[in-house]
């Protein structure tokens, strides 16, 4: 493409993304400064908005580090569960011939497109019955289950692109089906697996509705519900504080994207090339 066309394209893209960039910019600036009342130009630089990191912002609230830890446990446990089930279930769907395979495949697509929020009451009752209501464990199980169709579908795509002959060669070389899967096939779908791991971690990290409804107590609070509680409680809104907490909540996501950009692209590339 010629240089002029390039510049036009960059200009158009900048214009479209400008509102987003400005919003993120002010999120950051406002979290460390104090604007004049009613104005937007920062007057004074200060870190008081970030005070939630070292003091309790009010007495009834759990410490931010406890909540962050919860969020981390929630997101990682979800990601690990999703990956563990996806790599095995997707292999079966991709390679094994078992009864009602077509039914499972169709069900998978349907569940993938299903608006999960409509299930929330049923899930609530089930969790209540199991005694897992208002516990981190309960939300983890629900979130992982709801993420599974996506994970299985993605992994099935990766398995499908591994040549059959590799599997046949492994079997012919004397290896059991399980060993073939573990030593020969799994390494071929690793790019998909790492992308799925990151994606489901991020999905867990940003989940809001499930913890809000299924684990409203202070013990199982995650960052999304913590932030919501801070905003909802305050009679005199402190927007600087909200922005700082929002910033804190978004930082890991930004970091993960910056670090693993390339791997995340694999999911959309869908190939075996890493």
């Amino acid at each position: 493409m010629n240089t002029k066309g390039n510049w036009m394209l960059i200009l158009a893209l900048s214009l479209i993304s400008a509102p987003l960039v400005i919003m993120y910019g002010f999120q950051l600036i406002d979290s460390v400064s104090r604007p004049a009342p009613g104005g937007i130009i920062p007057q004074e630089w200060e870190l008081t908005n970030w005070r939630f990191l070292w003091t309790s912002i009010d007495s009834a609230r759990p410490s931010i580090w406890r909540v962050t830890f919860n969020t981390f446990v929630f997101a990682s446990a979800t990601a690990l569960l999703v990956c563990a089930f996806s790599i095995t279930a997707a292999y079966a769907l991709s390679r094994l011939n078992f009864p009602a395979r077509r039914f499972f495949l169709a069900g998978l697509i349907m569940l993938h497109a299903f608006p999960t929020i409509t299930l929330i009451i049923a899930i609530f009752i089930v969790l209540q019955f199991l005694g897992l209501y208002d516990s981190l464990m309960g939300v983890i199980l629900v979130k992982a289950a709801l993420e599974l169709p996506f994970g299985i579908w993605i992994m099935k795509g990766f398995y499908d692109s591994v040549p059959w002959e590799i599997e046949m060669a492994g079997v012919q070389d004397g290896a059991s089906r399980f060993r073939v899967w573990r030593e020969l096939i799994l390494p071929q779908v690793k790019p998909g697996l790492s992308a799925l791991l990151i994606f489901s971690f991020l999905a867990g990290w940003s989940e809001f509705i499930l913890p809000l409804v299924l684990a409203p107590g202070a013990d199982a609070q995650v960052l999304a519900t913590y932030m919501n509680a801070v905003i909802a409680d305050d009679t005199r809104p402190d927007y600087g504080l909200f922005k700082a907490i929002g910033m804190f909540y978004a930082l890991p996501v930004i970091a993960v994207y910056l670090l693993f950009q390339k791997r995340l692209m694999n999911i959309y590339g869908g190939g075996t090339k890493g």
């Binding site: 046949m168 060669a169 012919q172 070389d173 004397g174």
Partner: protein, 348 residues
């Protein structure tokens, strides 16, 4: 190891691909399963390897019944068309995989991998990954991996199809050399008659899930059992002419040949003449026509002659002739080498 396949039947769902096929391969023999795509040759190969279940019939290796044995337990090495190397493993690990599965000691594995690599002449490539190898080298790795377990049977599924023309020539003799050196019983699946003829002791020519003829390459070429076999073997291919066997063999209104010895008058038949048995350089009865196409090949030219009845014969004529397109010619047919087939295509 002798392979004995008896009354083999294979179905995929409701379609029967192969019905009641029998094949026996002598110990140390290399046999080709030759045929067009979809004739069941790969299906047969994978049934012998154990990847496809055998729906009917029995399979013996030597005296041992292996019909129900899973592929892991069959003493079989397979080379796949796309080589199926394990992309994440080095060449050494690829070749060593079958031995690691047997839980041999690392030192023993290393020794045998080294031996095998020397045999297929890739000793200097052991540390590389498959994608760093050329097609021919990948093929050698695949051969080494198939042979490293010292199997009784080597199965090759279109092993040369993914190679360019020059490498194909090289690997053809290389595979044959390996087979001879190891004395292994081998089955080669191919759709290429030249591969089958040049590499194998015998050829089983397949059609629609049946073996049409099984014989040595020379015999099959000289005495094809049917019109199908005659048409499959030979490059450039044989020419078929519709003819009438009465007092003599009439081809259209203008040409006639004496009936070959021992042929009875019987009405419409097919006459098959290979291009190397027709031309000005031969002796025998002649056929007249007009030159309709000349294809120079260097050492010799392929010349098509169209008869007055609008049927075509092809001739191989040594280069250095002065034959021009459109020229009327009367050339000789080596009558002792022609093939006659009845209306159903069976040899007379």
């Amino acid at each position: 190891m002798r392979i004995e396949l008896q009354n083999f039947t294979k179905r995929f769902g409701d379609t029967t691909v192969i019905e009641d096929m029998s094949l026996s391969v002598a110990s140390g023999e290399m046999i080709a399963l030759l045929g067009p795509s979809g004739c069941g040759k790969s299906t047969t190969l994978f049934a012998i390897s154990g990847i496809h279940r055998i729906d009917g019939g029995t399979l013996h290796f030597g005296d041992r019944d292996v019909t129900r044995l899973p592929p892991q337990d069959r003493p079989v090495g397979v080379v796949f068309q796309n080589y199926a190397l394990y992309p994440h493993m080095s060449v050494a690990d690829n070749i060593g995989f079958p031995l690691r599965v047997q839980n041999l000691k690392p030192a023993e594995i290393k020794r045998r991998v080294g031996e095998m690599a020397e045999l297929v002449q890739i000793g200097n490539l052991l540390a590389r990954k498959p994608q760093q190898l050329s097609g021919g080298q990948q093929q050698r790795v695949a051969l080494a991996r198939a042979l490293v377990r010292k199997p009784d049977v080597l199965l090759l599924d279109e092993p040369l199809a993914n190679l360019d023309a020059k490498l194909r020539l090289e690997m053809r003799s290389e595979i044959r050399r390996l087979q001879r050196e190891t004395g292994i019983t081998a089955i080669l699946v191919t759709h290429d008659q030249i591969e089958a003829m040049s590499m194998c002791d015998r050829i089983a020519l397949m059609k629609d899930g049946r073996i049409e003829q099984i014989s040595t390459p020379g015999d099959m070429y000289e005495r094809p059992a049917s019109r199908y076999v005659a048409g499959f073997l030979g490059n450039p291919p044989i020419s078929f002419l519709r003819a009438e066997a009465k007092g003599q063999l009439t081809i259209g209104a203008d040409n006639a040949l004496p009936l070959p010895h021992g042929t009875a008058a019987r009405g419409p038949i097919t006459l098959g003449v290979r291009p190397e048995h027709f031309g000005p350089q031969h002796r025998g009865p002649s056929i007249a026509g007009q030159v309709s196409f000349i294809e120079p090949q260097g050492r010799e030219d392929l010349i098509d002659v169209t008869l007055p009845c609008d049927q075509r014969l092809r001739a191989i004529v040594p280069a250095g002739h002065d034959i021009a397109l459109g020229q009327p010619v009367t050339w000789q047919v080596d009558l002792s080498r022609v093939h006659l087939f009845d209306a159903e295509g069976a040899r007379l």
